[in-house]
Amino acid sequence: MTTATVDRKILPPPIERYTVLGWVYKNLFSTWYDALLTLGSATVLYLVFAPMIGWAFTTAKWEVINANLRLLMIGQYPPSELWRIWACLYIAAIILGVSWGMWVRGSGGVGIALIVAPFFFMLFPSLELNDRLNLGGIVIAALAGFFIGRARGKSLSRLTTLSWIVYFPLVIFLVRGLNEEKQFFGVIGSNFWGGLLLTFLLTVVGIVFSFPFGVLLALGRRSSLTFVKMFCIIFIEVIRGVPFITILFMSQLVLPLFLPAGLTLDRVIRAMAGVIIFSAAYLAENVRGGLQAIPKGQFEAAEALGLNGFQTTIYIILPQALRAVIPILVGQFISLFKDTSLVAIVGLYDLLGISRSLLAQPDFIGRQPEVYMFISAIYWMFSYVMSYISQRLEVRMGVGER
């Protein structure tokens, strides 16, 4: 020991080490009521999950999923044009892999899950060889992206962000096609889109188009121009005060009445319009929350520098407001992803709609538990991935915050 007048040595913090048994004891059985709660919860978990797992592995007849996998995934999309879907998946895998390698770096549970998911699909016997090869190819693409991202580091940051922004419009373009007349890469109308593909497209179109629309509404609501402000308030409050399903019916039945003669929109496009309108109104309110969180001093500093209102909004206010509401926006997009299942009610064959039509066939009567379990798992998987990515995004965006 040194005396108090001399500087003490800088010590490393004490290290806490536990053995497995020690950990179990400390966290699960440290007092008698801890032990009681542990045993009680374990019993409840067992009573709930044991029969469920038993059912899944013994009684359940998963053949219904196997036989209809293609239908559930892409609906009536022509098999000859399947390569476009694969292309979308490959591109997604590469960008996701690069993002993962660059921003998350470590492998991480979800990273592994993303790699495992394609292998899970390979388990289905109905898949053909080239489907399996493609699934394997996607894993390789994702891994390649991961290593590129990790090796090149932040130098790809801007490019990757840009790729994500370009990706979603690109998907719509790839799936829909280009040319009415030509054989190669012709238009595949939205009435052929179905299953998980349609669910995705509704979500993607909803996000891509409602985002700018919602941001404009949020800004408009704070505008000093009375009419702009009035319009935005009325729009937001009317849409938010009406159930989503009503908006979907309105978009199916009422929207065609407002279109000029000769112009018809098919049912999917009309549903998309409903999704966009609905999502934009909620997004506007979320973004407004972010705008209100910006201190007055930020506006004043921007004004004092001579930036005009537009420049202040674009360079100072929106970047901060949007960053502040990322978790809320991702939450909203996850809800939107699940809410798109309501289009089944207006007769579209999204993941839920196509399941319902499957179950109406005599061959598959009584297979509800299997089908609904399966599509629940799919919804959950994608929702969880989105949620996890948003958490990582938050951590990353936290750098340099005040």
Partner: protein, 251 residues
Amino acid sequence: MSEQIINQPIISCRDVHKWFGQFQALRGIDMDVQKGEVIVIFGPSGSGKSTFIRTINRLEEHQRGTIIIDGIELTHDVRNIERVRSETGMVFQQFNLFPHLTVMENITLAPMRVRKWKREQADEVGMQLLKRVGIPEQAYKYPGQLSGGQQQRVAIARALAMQPKIMLFDEPTSALDPEMIKEVLDVMIELARSGMTMMVVTHEMGFARAVAHKMYFFDQGQIVESGTPDEIFKSPKEDRTKLFLSQVLSH
């Protein structure tokens, strides 16, 4: 401007009034500032000194009287307001740096977007300014990673990047820890000696004594007394000024 008549004040305020609801914050302020002068405004809180300095670049709108900055009258004309703002730099009590931009981006944003400079040119000027305020090594950090004194020096560099003719300081050291006040004041003193026209709201009497050409004592929205630092410190005429100075200088 070259056609400017000699001795025409760069800031000219006549009978400036301002109300917040029923409360009258400014009650007929008259002030002329010559090019190159350093003005210190002091007074108790609520005396209208911050409100007044904020009317100079129209962050607050005066409701009566005239304010003419470098020959441009502040009216509702947005173009006049923008011209005045790009000729006056302002430094705030709370720094108000943009937290999502690096130090360098904070400085170069306005020159690039308002003055339409190229990035290289803006970066070069930005780096010169950071050297001038003594923190070139912080250029690529975010404001949140800097100390208060460093942030305020960045704020000064940001305001200078627009090459203003006038610098306004609204209590620039009031939010700082004691050991950081000096580093900011040193920058301001250097700026004052370089001939910049400055209007400073502050209670730092040492700063006033060192570089101010003229001091104004505000109370209840009026100018109670004005004079050179010598006059104010050695022989204040008004009782209120004496009382206030004794409180500020006592410690």
